[in-house]
Each structure stands twice: as C-alpha cells, then as structure tokens.
C-alpha cells in the first residue's frame, strides 16, 4: 500500500460572538509520501503533536484526506487491524461479549483463539469495568487481530503493559511480520521499538522528515554513532539540541522545514 501527497487537517472549533459554531483548520499531516510493504515493521516516531496518531487514523480509513492512498478507505477498513491508543474499556459487558460485538462487525464467529493469543482466555467472563489497564490493552490488541488483517496499525501499543507483556507483544509482532503482515507502530517507548522495526518514519509538525531503514536514516542525518538511539535521531532530524531538550517543541527554531500555517489544537 502506498500513500502519495496525503494531507489532512483537523477542523477545530473557533467560536466568536457572531459565529459560535465557527471552525477553522487546525493541526494535521501534510503531503505525506510513504510505502508500506508486507512483512515489514514500520516505526512511526516523532515528538508530541507531530501527527503520528493522525497519520495512523488516515491509514486506517478514519479520516477523509486529500492525496492518494492506493486502497479506498472502505477496503482499508476491511484488511487493516487498528489498535488505538489507550482505549478505556468500561461497562458491565464481559470481555467475551465485547469481543463478540467486534467479531460481528467482521462477520467472524471464532473468538476463542484470538483471546488465547492475547492472554485473555482466563479473563473472558470478567466485566470490562474490572479490567486492569494492561488487560484493556490486550483486548484492544485482540480486536485489532480480528479478521486476519494484512496490515496492523498500532498507536502506542506498549503503553500500560508490564515488561513481560511488552516483550510478549514485540515477539508476537515479529511472528506476525514473518507471516507477511505489515505492521505500522507508533510508540514513545523507543528502546523497545528500535529492536523490532525494519524502517522508521520520523514526523514533526505534520511533515514526514525522513523515512527508511534505521541505518540509512542515521546516515542521511549524519549520525556516525551506530549505537545512537531514536531520541538522538529525533533530535538530529528536528534540530533539537540533545543537551538542551525541553518540553517546548513548538518553537519555530526547531523546525527544519518550512512552517505550515498550522496552529496547535
């Protein structure tokens, strides 16, 4: 699947006295070109507000965008498994009832094997209200695995998982990739991510700064240290001084490219 010149901007509320319902363009992603190959794990990285989640949602067919994606959004929803960031499952329905609801949306009937894969088979009768955050992440993963997806889109899948579960998830992702599933994963847990990704795509202010295998990205950014981690990569690409990292990532001086007419939401 390939993305060509894909652009999307959020419409955000901009009320004033005369137009209380007025909206204007907000942040988003701008002119993204990206190829996704079967069996490959693509890591999407970037600072907060870079557009990672927006890009993943566009790929999953949730936003109407401009530009070209080689498959239509309805077709993408069919073969992409989407795992959003931190779903707060709640309610009195049990895990298995909730999972059945999503299985119905795929016209799939066998749910036991996927629940077993994600380690939820012993918790299947527990109400959603009683699940821990880690178990909720597992349920989100189980939903993403429904329908034997060809592409898995995962937004911060490692959040809330204990170290063992994180390792189990990365192992599972590697196995899926070996079977030919393309995986797009966004995570701030850069150490775990660096171990499993084949390629990375670095986003900043909605723009794709650099993309490719880790080694070639390092080379293109002039990083000679083989051990350099993803933080250093982000710093090199965005112009942030590694010695002077602050939380204010919106300063113009840190922008390597032209500033878009984008205001933060």
């Amino acid at each position: 699947m390939s993305l060509s010149d894909v652009t999307f901007r959020h419409r955000i509320r901009d009320p004033n006295s005369w137009k209380p319902w007025a909206k204007r363009d907000g942040a988003g992603i701008h002119s993204i070109d990206l190829d996704i190959y079967p069996g490959e794990i693509l890591g999407v990285i970037g600072p907060n507000g870079a557009g990672k989640t927006t890009l993943l949602r566009v790929i999953s067919g949730l936003f109407k965008h401009s530009g070209e994606i080689s498959k239509s959004s309805s077709m993408r929803r069919r073969f992409i498994g989407h795992m959003p960031e931190q779903v707060r499952w709640e309610g009195r329905l049990s895990v298995v009832e909730t999972f059945q609801m999503f299985a119905l949306m795929h016209d799939e009937t066998s749910v036991e094997s996927i629940l077993k894969t994600v380690g939820l088979s012993s918790k299947k009768d527990i109400p959603l209200d009683n699940l821990s955050q880690g178990m909720r992440q597992r349920l989100s993963l189980a939903v993403a695995l429904l329908g034997q997806p060809l592409i898995l889109v995962m937004d911060e899948p490692l959040n809330g998982l204990d170290p063992l579960a994180q390792r189990a998830l990365t192992n599972l992702l590697s196995q899926l990739a070996e079977k030919g599933v393309a995986i797009i994963i966004s995570s701030h847990q850069v150490a775990e991510l660096a171990n499993i990704v084949d390629r990375i795509a670095l986003l900043h202010h909605g723009q794709l700064l650099v993309e490719g295998p880790l080694k070639s990205v390092k080379k293109s950014l002039g990083i000679k240290d083989e051990q350099a981690d993803l933080v250093e990569l982000i710093c090199a690409a965005t112009g942030i001084d590694p010695e002077d990292i602050s939380l204010d990532l919106a300063e113009d001086s840190m922008l390597p490219f032209k500033r878009l007419e984008v205001e933060e939401e």
Partner: protein, 273 residues
C-alpha cells in the same frame, strides 16, 4: 441484517446491565404500575374531562405518566450512546471496523430503543393485569396492539433524537444538557409554546376547549413526539375530535420515525473519532 441485530442485542444487554437501570427500573415501575392502579379506580374523577369507561381509557389516561417516566428513561439510556464511546476511545475502534456505518447506526438505534422498550412493555403487561383486577376487563387485542406499538414508536423517536444529540456532543456534560433540554421542551414546554402560537394567531387561550384552540393544539402536537403519540392513541377513543385530517398523525409518525434516524445515520457516515 444478522450482524445489525446481533450488534443491537449486545448493545441492549450492555444498556440493560448498566448501573443507571437501578434508577430507571423503580421510576418506571412506580409511574406505570401506580398510575394503572390509581386510574382504574371506579370512583376516579379526572380533571381533563376523560371519563373512564373501559380498560383502554385507563391505558390512555396513564400515558401522561408514560410520557414522564419512559421518555426520561429513553433519554437516560441513550444520552451518552456516542459520547461515552468517543471519550473512552471505543468509538475510534468501532469506526475502524469493516461493517458499514449505516449498520452500526441502525444497531445502535435498535439496541438502545429495546433497552427501554422491553422494561416498559413488561411493566405495561403487569399494568393490564392490575386493570383487569380493578375494572374486571382486559383491553381488546387491537387496543393493546395500538397502545404497545405507539409507545414503542415514542421511545424509538426519543432514543434516535438522543443518539443524534450525543453524536454532536463532545463531552458528557453537553450530551446530558441536550438530552434533558429536548425532553423538557417536548414534555413540559410544549403547552406553553402552543399557547404562544395560538396567541400570535389571535386565538383566545382563555377557552382551551374552543374548536379553534383545539385545532391549533392538534397541529402543534404534530411537531412533538408526545403530541403525535397522543394523536395515535386518541384515534381509538370515542368522542375525541381534533379538527385535523386523520392521515396527518400517521404522516407525522412516519416523519418522526424516519428523519431523526436518517440524520443520525448520515452523521455516523461522516463521523470522526
């Protein structure tokens, strides 16, 4: 169709198990059962001129209590139908599934509606037993069908309006505000709006039994779910003249059944998480 009904069934189960049902059940039980008991008293004297002669008359009179309790139940069940999922992140997952958004919309309307229709219908059956005990007669099957279908439609209308409002709300606060606002407008304020419209049209509001006022009230009722509900039920009552075409309530009922659901479906089609 199977997936739509299957989804609706799971949504209904979720709503029936929700903690808020602990409030809704007693409310419904008190309003529906107590009103049937009280109104089926042979000595009852109603202030609005209806004489209780039959089981159907009791059922019709008790709709005043249905309108207060069951419609509020519909609001409480469905006011966060979309906004809760939006806040928790579940909506993003639902929207990314391959099933069409229209099917999702229909399953939500059916599931949420059934979560209030089932308790109300069950309590109405008990109410009929009470009427039988007090008055010694059952309503005919036709009368019971008209009553049940009309009540079901009323609850579907309220549910679809609430889901539509919930789909626009960005947080729970605005969601419940819109929900209760709509409910209060149709349940409490509509009489005031009717008198205002009558006043603007130079119709005297001192005599609420004048044919001119009844006609304008009947027309205004077509724009309110509660009014259409009463129109449908009054067709089965003797001596009720509303001075409008008998087709008008059916036409209004069809519009109330289609327009909110269709608007909700369209909103679902273009919805972002």
């Amino acid at each position: 169709m199977n997936s739509t009904l299957g989804l609706a069934q799971l949504i209904m189960c979720d709503r029936l198990k929700a903690g808020r049902m602990m409030v809704i059940w007693p409310l419904l039980a008190m309003f529906i059962l107590f009103s049937s008991w009280g109104l089926s008293d042979p000595k009852v004297n109603l202030s609005f001129g209806l004489t209780i002669d039959s089981a159907y008359d009791v059922m019709y009179a008790s709709t005043a209590f249905i309108i207060f309790s069951a419609t509020l139940g519909a609001v409480l069940i469905s006011f966060d139908g979309i906004s809760r999922d939006r806040i928790s992140g579940v909506l993003e997952l639902k929207l990314s599934q391959p099933i069409s958004r229209s099917k999702q919309a229909y399953s939500m309307v059916i599931g949420h509606s059934m979560a209030i229709i089932i308790p109300v219908t069950g309590l109405n059956l008990i109410a009929i037993m009470i009427i039988r005990y007090r008055l010694g007669e059952f309503p005919s099957i036709y009368e019971y069908s008209v009553y049940t279908v009309s009540t079901g439609l009323l609850l579907i209308w309220y549910t679809s309006i609430q889901l539509l409002a919930s789909s626009y709300a960005r947080d729970m606060g605005s969601s419940i505000a819109v929900g209760l606002g709509v409910w209060m407008t149709f349940t409490l304020l509509w009489l005031v709006m009717t008198t205002v419209v009558a006043g603007l049209m130079d119709i005297s509001v001192t005599d609420l039994n004048s044919s001119e006022y009844i006609r304008i009230e009947s027309i205004m009722d077509l724009f309110s779910p509660n009014g259409v509900y009463h129109h449908l039920l009054e067709m089965n009552l003797d001596g009720f003249e509303r001075h409008i075409s008998p087709i008008a309530p059916f036409f209004a009922a069809a519009l109330w059944s289609v327009v909110p659901i269709e608007l909700f479906r369209k909103k679902m089609e273009s919805m972002h998480p």
